[in-house]
Symmetry: D2
Subunit: 143 residues, 4 copies
């Protein structure tokens, strides 16, 4: 074939289709570009912690999925090695959250991403995430 | 009262009792000491990602809960501000994971913790987590 | 006085004046606004590591100073508790580096910042830094 | 040759010999094993920040060097991709600091390390560092 890099949405759709936990979260993929992904979810009661606010693990999972999708848009399997997250604010039941992943840099074998979580339509930053991936030599989706 | 610091298990039980997401995960609190907590869970099919391995968000949530419990054992409300996680290896359906949170240091207003995730009975490190908390002036449980 | 918040440059100048290591690095403060700081330095031979590229500690110090300055622009003493840095690329002797610190969020007692390091005039990201501060009740400069 | 993995000290000595910044810091390598390194330095006046305490960049550089040495003990070039550091306490002029780097895990292409900084002879944790490396296919020292 003339071009062996698939459309950015192809690996993301492949990953989402079988991603049981993202499906449990009700995660929706709103936009995909090369090195970029925007996802969203609505906070449910079963996502809260003992203080009745969003469990940090769900906020992390949302950011982590956004980054994993963005990093895999090149059609080459990328796996998360490191992630850092800051939690300036939290969310409560019924909030709709968006997570936007952008590529900071990408080398042959490593990729670096930033994700910002806000409420849809809001400006306040709920979480800031920085993550890194190792880019393997395998294709995604597998051939 | 002579002593106003509750037993370390009191704030942890209070947090766990209402923690809907930790209950969904089937998280169990196996051991609590001042500044220390050991928790575990069994990986289920609905915790996997699109590669059929444990979603990073669940591993993070397990470590994050372990740290939040350890940091709250002093009876003062501690909230997570920052967390970093490394993922050397993953887990699959049926694995039983343990997360052990230890205190690195604690000042009047900040606390620093490390969490290691392994399979029960195994030596391989699946994830290493470093987290920080801000210690508020509120009591936990609230008075 | 009607307004007890000093100009953003006042605490930064106070910090820089006595900052022996930033002076050793030849760090220059190029721009200061509330919650924002832009600094620069020229890479010298004594800042390199054993591979003849910039030592990660200097890149970190540059980002860390930029954030500490940005976080102290409110005239209240802010101390760094956590920092995460990614190193997609390095620098060599003679390069002029700029580090730009922006505020992601700020609560009463905590602040969250992001710093990007590039070569002056370049677009490539050499390092991405995310840092958090604890905001004490002391003034900066001290009264 | 029967065995092509050099002694763990060989790559460390090679890196230290030409490391101008570690030499400026007066860094000493006290112990090297496969996946492990212990280093130390004495805090000088030109390492302090504007609050007359150790600049965070020096603490980071100390931890970063310890990890880079530990990660390179296998004779294969390892480069730092990510690092997270927590600063529970600081140091002042004249303090002798030790940084101990231990391997958490190592795969074919990635390595994960933890570094603890204390004062020599003390128990208080001054800094906790978690770092990750990408393991290249090049030898260290180069052939």
């Amino acid at each position: 074939m003339a071009n062996d890099i698939p459309s950015p949405a192809v690996p993301v759709n492949y990953m989402m289709k079988n991603d049981a936990f993202s499906q449990w979260m009700g995660l929706e993929v709103d936009k995909v570009e090369r090195g970029y992904c925007l996802v969203s979810l609505r906070v449910r009661g079963d996502m809260l912690n003992g203080f009745y606010i969003l469990h940090g693990g769900i906020a992390f999972a949302l950011a982590d999925s956004a980054m994993a999708f963005a990093a895999n848009t090149y059609g080459q399997l990328a796996v998360v090695t490191d992630a850092h997250i800051q939690f300036p604010a939290s969310a409560k039941e019924g909030d709709v959250l968006i997570a936007e992943a952008r590529e900071s840099a990408r080398t042959r074998k490593t990729g670096y991403y930033e994700v910002t979580i806000k409420k849809r339509g809001g400006e306040e930053v709920l979480a800031k995430y920085q993550g890194s991936v190792y880019i393997s030599s395998r294709r995604n989706p597998p051939e």
